[in-house]
C-alpha cells in the first residue's frame, strides 16, 4: 500500500512550470529517490509535499489524508518530517534542544500546567529528554548534546537534522540532499544511517540526491525529474540504462553513444 500518493501535481511560478503533472507513489517501508539535474524541480516537489508551497493542481494523499495545501505544521504533525538542502538547524540552541523542538508535536502539557509547574510537567520533560538522547545516540551525537548546533562540524549537522526529524516519530522522512558536501567516508556513514532508518525503525525514506553511487546502491525505486516532468521511474538497473535519463544528465549525444 502506498504511504504517499502524489497525483498529477503541478506548480508554476509566474511563467515557469517548476513541477509539471508529476505522479509519484511511495510504498510504505521503501527507500525511494528523486533525482534529476539541477533545477529539475525536486526541492519544489518536496516543498509541496511538506506544505511550504501549495500545488496549483493535483492531489497529495499521505497515509490516507489529503494534504495538498495543508499547513506545514499540520503535515509535520501527521508524521512527515524532512531535512533541508541547506541545513536549517536552530543554530543558537544546543544539540539536545534541537531534538526537543523536533519532539514538539508529541508534547502536550498545557500552558497552565507549565506555569503552575504541575507534577506532569517534570515527568513529560524528563521523558522527552531521555527520548531525545536516545535519538541522538542513534545518530551518534549524544556526546555532543550540550554543544550549540552551529558549532558542530558539517557532517554532524546533517546527522542532527536527521535526529531532529526522527524525534517527531515520523512515518515518512524526506531527506533533501543528505550527503551534499560530504567526503566519501562521511557519505558511507550517512548511507549506513539512512539504511538503518528503514531497516531498524521501519521508516519510509524519500531522498533527493546527486550522489549516484548512493542513490543506486540504496534505493528500491528511483524517479527522475527533468524540467519539472517525470521522465523515468524504476529500479537502479532500469534507470541506469534509460536513454532519456542519460540524455537529461549528459546531453543527447551521450544518450546515443550509450545506446
Amino acid at each position: 500500500m502506498a504511504l504517499l500518493e502524489a497525483t498529477n501535481v503541478t506548480k508554476t511560478f509566474g511563467g515557469l512550470t517548476a513541477v509539471n503533472d508529476v505522479t509519484l507513489m511511495i510504498e510504505k517501508g521503501s527507500i525511494a529517490s528523486v533525482i534529476g539535474p539541477n533545477g529539475a524541480g525536486k526541492t519544489t516537489f518536496f516543498n509541496m509535499l511538506t506544505g511550504i508551497y501549495k500545488p496549483d493542481k493535483g492531489a497529495i494523499l499521505f497515509d490516507g489524508t489529503s494534504i495538498a495545501g495543508m499547513r506545514s505544521d499540520r503535515i509535520a504533525a501527521l508524521g512527515m518530517r524532512r531535512t533541508f538542502q541547506n541545513i536549517r538547524l536552530f543554530n543558537n540552541m544546543t544539540v539536545l534542544e534541537n531534538v526537543l523542538v523536533g519532539m514538539h508535536t508529541r508534547l502536550h502539557i498545557p500552558f497552565w500546567q507549565i506555569i503552575a509547574s504541575a507534577p506532569g510537567v517534570r515527568r513529560e520533560e524528563t521523558k522527552a529528554r531521555d527520548e531525545a538522547r536516545e535519538r541522538l545516540a542513534y545518530v551518534g551525537l549524544d556526546a555532543k548534546r550540550e554543544e550549540l548546533a552551529k558549532n558542530l562540524p558539517y557532517g554532524d549537522q546533517r546527522r542532527l537534522e536527521i535526529a531532529r526529524a526522527l524525534a517527531g516519530d515520523p512515518k515518512l522522512i524526506l531527506l533533501d540532499e543528505p550527503t551534499a558536501g560530504m567526503n566519501p567516508q562521511e557519505t558511507d556513514a550517512a548511507t549506513g544511517l539512512i539504511r538503518r532508518l528503514r531497516d531498524d525503525l521501519g521508516l519510509t525514506v524519500v531522498l533527493i540526491e546527486h550522489d549516484m553511487r548512493l542513490v543506486m546502491s540504496i534505493s528500491e525505486r528511483i524517479s527522475v525529474l527533468d524540467y519539472g516532468t517525470k521522465i523515468a521511474e524504476g529500479d537502479a538497473h532500469t534507470i541506469r540504462s534509460n536513454p532519456r535519463v542519460i540524455e537529461a544528465y549528459l546531453g543527447k549525444g551521450a544518450a546515443g553513444a550509450a545506446a
Binding site: 533541508f84 536549517r88 534542544e97 507549565i114 529528554r129 558511507d188 549506513g192 531498524d200
Partner: protein, 459 residues
C-alpha cells in the same frame, strides 16, 4: 563564570575566592552588614546615600552571581529585599519609590523580553499594553465612569485587587489583537507596525475625550484610587510601626510590585524552559525549520504577544494606582524604546540580564544621571573648567545615549547574556537508560567517531 578553570590573574583569583567557600559566605555577610549599616545611617538624599544604594544593588547582584548555597542566597537576598530595603524606605521615601519604579520596569522588561528576546519579534509599541492596564484602572476607579454615563459610578477601591488580574487579561487580549494582523510580518516590518500600534493607543488616549469623555484627553486622569489599607492595623498595632498613610502606601506598592516581579520571574522562567519556550526560540532562529517540526506559527506567536502584554497590563493597573495620575505622554514612544533598551542592555533572552538592565536603566534615569548632573553643576559653580554655557542637566540623556553606544560596541550581547542551561536532571539517570543499540554509551560519552554506532553490517 561557573567553570572551575584555574584562576589566571589576580582579579580572577579574588573573584574565585570571594564567590565560594567560607570566604564567600563571610564576604557576602560582611558586605550585607556594611550595606545595611550605611543605608540605615544615611537616611538623607545625598551623594553618599546614592553610593550606598548603588552598593546595595551591587550586593544583590553579587548574591545572585556567587556560588554559595542556594538557601543562603535566598535568605540573604530575601532579608535585603523584604526587610532592609523597606525599613530604609520608611526613613527615606525617595529610594523606596526608586525601588518600586525599578520593580515596575523589571516586570515590563521581562514581559517585553518574552516577545523580543524569546520569540524574536521586535515590538516597538510595548508600552501600549502598559497604557491599557493603567487606563483600565484609571477610568474605572474615578469620576470618568460617571462622565461616560451618569448612571455609572466608579468601582470601589477594594476592587483594585481583582483589577490586577483583569489588567492581566485585558493586556493579553490587546496582545492578541496586535498580534493577529502582524503575524505575517517579520523584522523591520513588524517593528514599524508595532510602533504604529503604540502610537494609535497613545493618540486614542489623547483624543477619546469626545464625543464621550472616556480618557479625559490630554488632561489625563486625576485622583486615581488607591486600594484601602486593609493591613494598616496589622502594621501599626501588631508590628508596632508608627507609619503614616503615605508611608504605608509606599510600602504597600513596594511589596505589591516585588511580589508581582517574583511571580513574573517564576512564570517566565518556567515557560522558557518548557516546550513553549523552545518553540519560541525555534521560531526566532528559523521560522521555516520551526514549522517543519510541527510548531503552529500563528498560535505560538500569539501566545508570546499575549504573555508579554499581560504583565504590562497588570503592572499598568498598579502603576496608575501608585501614581494617582496618568496622562498620554506617560506612554509615548520613548518609554517603549527605554524598555527595549533595558532588554538589550541587560542581555536579550536572559532573565537575570533583563532584570539587571531594567534596574540599571531606571537607576540611571531617576538617580545616577540627575546626580551626575548635580555633581557637575556643583563643580561648575566651584570654578571647575566647565564652560558656563554647558548645563549638565540638559545633557543627561546624552550620557545615556553614549552608554548605550559603548555597550553595544564592547558588549553587544548585553551585561548578563543568556547562558545555556546545563543538563542537571538527566545526568544521574543516564546509567539505567536502556539503549536499543546495546552500544557502550553511559554517562561519560565515548569519543565521538565519524561513523554512527551500529552502522555497517549492510553498508
Amino acid at each position: 563564570m561557573a567553570t572551575m578553570s584555574p584562576p589566571t590573574n589576580l582579579w580572577e583569583q579574588v573573584k574565585a575566592t570571594l564567590s565560594r567557600g567560607p570566604t564567600g559566605y563571610s564576604f557576602l555577610g560582611l558586605y550585607a552588614a556594611i550595606c545595611t549599616w550605611l543605608l540605615l545611617t544615611n537616611p538623607r538624599t545625598s551623594l553618599n546615600t546614592d553610593i550606598a544604594f548603588a552598593l546595595f544593588l551591587l550586593l544583590l547582584l553579587l548574591i545572585y552571581r556567587s556560588q554559595v548555597a542556594l538557601g543562603f542566597k535566598v535568605v540573604l537576598g530575601g532579608l535585603m529585599l523584604f526587610v532592609v530595603l523597606p525599613i530604609f524606605g520608611t526613613l527615606n521615601p525617595f529610594y523606596i519609590d526608586v525601588a518600586t519604579q525599578a520593580g515596575i520596569f523589571v516586570a515590563l522588561a521581562l514581559g517585553l523580553n518574552v516577545v523580543v528576546g524569546f520569540a524574536g519579534l521586535l515590538d516597538l509599541g510595548y508600552v501600549a499594553f502598559f497604557a491599557v492596564g493603567a487606563y483600565l484602572w484609571g477610568i474605572m476607579s474615578t469620576e470618568q465612569m460617571t462622565l461616560m454615563n451618569p448612571a455609572w459610578s466608579p468601582v470601589p477601591p477594594i476592587m483594585f485587587y481583582p483589577f490586577i488580574l483583569l489588567g492581566l487579561i485585558v493586556g493579553a487580549t490587546f496582545g492578541v489583537l496586535l498580534g493577529l494582523p502582524v503575524l505575517r510580518l517579520r523584522g523591520d516590518y513588524l517593528a514599524i507596525v508595532t510602533l504604529g500600534f503604540g502610537e494609535v493607543i497613545r493618540v486614542l488616549a489623547n483624543n477619546l475625550d469626545r464625543p464621550i469623555n472616556i480618557t479625559n484627553g490630554s488632561q489625563g486622569i486625576r485622583g486615581i484610587e488607591r486600594p484601602p489599607l486593609i493591613f494598616a492595623d496589622f502594621v501599626r498595632n501588631t508590628l508596632g510601626l508608627n507609619l503614616d498613610d503615605q508611608q504605608l502606601y509606599q510600602q504597600f506598592f513596594y511589596f505589591a510590585v516585588l511580589l508581582i516581579v517574583m511571580l513574573t520571574v517564576v512564570v517566565v522562567s518556567r515557560l522558557k524552559h518548557s516546550r513553549i519556550g523552545r518553540a519560541w526560540e525555534a521560531i526566532r532562529e528559523d521560522e521555516t525549520a520551526a514549522i517543519a517540526q510541527g510548531i503552529p506559527l500563528v498560535r505560538t506567536k500569539l501566545l508570546a504577544f499575549a504573555v508579554g502584554a499581560s504583565f504590562a497590563g497588570a503592572m499598568g493597573v498598579i502603576f496608575a494606582s501608585k501614581q494617582l495620575f496618568i496622562n498620554p505622554p506617560t506612554f509615548d514612544l520613548i518609554r517603549s524604546i527605554n524598555i527595549l533598551a533595558m532588554v538589550i542592555l541587560g542581555g536579550m533572552g536572559s532573565i537575570p540580564g533583563v532584570m539587571l538592565g531594567a534596574v540599571l536603566v531606571t537607576m540611571l534615569d531617576l538617580q545616577i544621571l540627575p546626580r551626575l548632573a548635580t555633581v557637575l553643576r556643583d563643580l561648575q559653580r566651584a570654578g571647575a573648567p566647565i564652560p558656563a554655557a554647558f548645563d549638565p542637566t540638559q545633557y543627561q540623556r546624552l550620557f545615556f545615549g553614549l552608554l548605550l553606544i559603548l555597550m553595544m560596541i564592547f558588549r553587544p550581547t548585553g551585561i548578563l547574556p543568556d547562558e545555556r542551561r546545563k543538563e542537571e536532571l538527566v545526568e544521574d539517570q543516564v546509567v539505567d537508560l536502556p539503549l536499543d543499540d546495546g552500544e557502550v554509551d553511559s554517562g561519560e560519552p565515548p569519543p565521538p567517531t565519524q561513523a554512527p554506532p551500529g552502522s555497517g553490517p549492510i553498508a
